[in-house]
């Protein structure tokens, strides 16, 4: 009696999991399918699965002007730079915040939370003006500065939660042993925060890889475009005549690095976000 009940429960759950996977992956799998079909096969609908398979969409996209990998390279450069900047600024700040109590912590912590929630799209116009005045437009290095700034609130909050979780005696013992602040960070604290630093870095990378409005307004030279504005430019060119196979190939290519990162660091991301939620 209870055996069949349990079996039925397990069956129901499997069905739900299948639905969940279909919902999450279906659209992406459809992109993958589309990207491998010839234009004719797509327009003729579901006419036969036997023929019409092709890699032409990929070769088209990769041999465009500029080739698609150029956008991905730009996005990677900006992502790496902004991750580096963010961590370099956020780690000392988070450390100081975690070691302080009282009003300062409350004020800075509250400000950071508000900034982390803030829809940054509101800021693009003023940031564009800064870029124009300082001549920072069309410069990938400069673009990573606002990215670092926008990522800082969440990064500091996540890292300071991780600092606060380390037993304070570890650092105190290092202090008594004559370690300087830099040595304590280098040898004791940061090695113990590996997962938190990795997940924070990954979130920053994701953000800058995906960021749209600022990249859209700061970058105009097509060989400097990052992935998001490049996609929008493709989309904006024309709605109905655009070859969707090439579209799909682009979306697959643009998603692959993130898929790889997500699979590599799945544990850290989940742990990092979970921790952030609990502390936040």
């Amino acid at each position: 009696m209870s055996g069949t009940h349990r079996q039925r429960m397990a069956l129901g759950r499997s069905a739900l999991v299948a639905l969940l996977l279909l919902w999450s992956l279906g659209p992406m799998l459809w992109q993958l399918y589309t990207s491998l079909r010839s234009a004719d096969a797509l327009l003729l609908g579901s006419a036969g699965l036997g023929g019409g398979w092709t890699l032409a969409n990929y070769t088209d996209v990769l041999s465009g002007d500029p080739p698609f990998w150029r956008y991905m390279l730009n996005s990677t450069v900006v992502g790496a730079l902004s991750t580096l900047f963010t961590l370099a600024l956020a780690i000392p700040c988070a450390y100081a915040l975690s070691r302080r109590g009282g009003l300062l912590r409350l004020l800075v912590g509250g400000g950071l939370l508000a900034a982390a929630v803030f829809p940054y799209v509101l800021l693009f116009l003023a940031l564009l003006e800064v870029a124009r005045q300082l001549g920072l437009a069309n410069n990938l290095l400069a673009l990573s500065l606002p990215y670092a700034g926008l990522s800082l609130p969440l990064a500091v909050l996540l890292l300071q939660a991780a600092f606060a979780e380390l037993p304070v005696e570890l650092e105190e013992n290092a202090l008594l042993e004559g370690f300087s602040l830099l040595q304590r960070l280098r040898w004791i604290l940061l090695p113990l925060m590996g997962p938190a630093v990795a997940s924070t870095g990954l979130l920053v990378f994701l953000f800058s890889w995906n960021e749209f409005p600022i990249a859209l307004t700061w970058l105009s030279r097509s060989e400097l475009l990052t992935l998001a504005p490049a996609m929008a430019r493709i989309a904006g060119s024309s709605v109905f005549t655009v070859p969707y196979g090439a579209f799909a190939a682009a979306t697959v290519l643009g998603s692959l690095p993130l898929l790889a990162l997500l699979l590599l660091f799945q544990r850290q991301i989940v742990a990092g976000l979970t921790q952030g939620a609990i502390k936040g």
Binding site: R13, V17, L20, L21, W23, S24, L25, P27, W30, T34, L42, L43, G45, L89, A90, P92, C93, A96, L97, R100, L104, A115, V117, F118, P119, L122, L125, A126, L128, E129, V130, P146, G149, L150, L152, P153, V156, N210, F212, T217, L227, A228, P229, M231, A235, G236, Y244, F247, T251, G254, S255, L258, L261, L262, L263, Q266, V270, L273, T274, A277
Partner: protein, 285 residues
């Protein structure tokens, strides 16, 4: 003192990126700076603000944005809770599925928006192809105002539900299992335990999710720009898109800044409303 020194670089960049723009907008909203002024700022007092109050398109977009935010965040919350409950149970392969469900959240909005455009394409997209093969008429998903709006909501829900689910999952993991066991021993059904145990204890997490997601949804931009371009007939235009158009297409920077600030005020009001609601719920509980 040294603590402030360590924080200074980060705080300076934060001020430059978050505070400076708002001050800049406050100043800019009191200027006319457009093609009519040769793109030079000219003080005009409150003219921009008067225009904002009388601007039908601003208020229409405000309504659309708010409706979009409330509906999509509401759907994300319900769906996300379902995901979280499912992913919280123990079963084989749970870890992999957790990662795979995160994928939509990790992908660039612009990339997937492009994907949705193909999926909802009329008449060649897979959905319409399916409808046609069933002998039904194809549906102009992105060409009808109502359907375009619903498609936008669907794309947003698809993209951000994993994030909501992840945060709620974190909350579920904080609820000790013996609470459920005690409740079951007292004869509570699983459905009752959801309402009497899970949801009350999850409330702080739900609140954080709501706060974060509402603010983000009110600023919806990427999705609209790529999926519908704000159309048809600006029926899916959000406030952020309107502000963007004012600056980049109409080159009216003074008014664009005013729209941004107007949006900021609406954001503050909604956040305050949410805080009050949370307080009320807390007092009642």
């Amino acid at each position: 003192m040294s603590a402030l020194l360590l924080m200074a670089p980060a705080l300076l960049l934060l001020l430059a990126v978050f505070v400076w723009p708002l001050l800049d907008y406050a100043w800019l909203s009191l200027q006319a700076q457009s093609v009519f002024t040769g793109l030079q700022p000219e003080p005009v007092g409150l003219a921009n603000w008067q225009r904002l109050l009388a601007d039908g398109r601003f208020w229409q977009d405000a309504g659309q944005t708010l409706r979009f935010a409330v509906v999509s965040v509401g759907l994300e919350l319900v769906l996300g809770l379902g995901f979280a409950l499912l992913l919280h149970q123990r079963w084989r392969g749970r870890g992999v599925v957790r990662t795979l469900t995160l994928l939509p959240w990790a992908l660039p909005t612009t990339v997937m928006a492009l994907g949705w455009r193909w999926i909802f394409n009329d008449p060649n997209g897979p959905i319409n192809a399916l409808l046609q093969s069933l002998g039904l008429a194809s549906v102009p998903f992105l060409a009808s105002p109502q359907l375009a709006w619903q498609t936008t909501v669907l794309a947003d829900v698809w993209k951000t539900t994993p994030f909501v689910a992840l945060l709620l999952l974190a909350g579920l993991q904080m609820i000790p299992a013996d609470l459920y066991e005690a409740f079951a021993l007292e004869g509570g059904s699983p459905w009752q335990s959801l309402w009497r145990v899970t949801l009350p204890l999850l409330r702080p997490y739900i609140f954080i999710v709501l706060l974060f997601r509402l603010a983000q949804a009110l600023g919806v931009f990427d999705l609209v720009v790529v999926l519908t371009g704000g159309g048809p007939a600006s029926s899916t235009e959000s406030l952020a898109v309107y502000a963007y158009l004012n600056a980049m297409r109409f080159l009216d920077f003074g008014y664009s800044a005013t729209v941004m600030l107007g949006m900021f005020v609406l954001l503050l009001i909604s956040s305050a409303g949410l805080l009050l609601l949370q307080r009320r719920v807390q007092v009642r509980a």
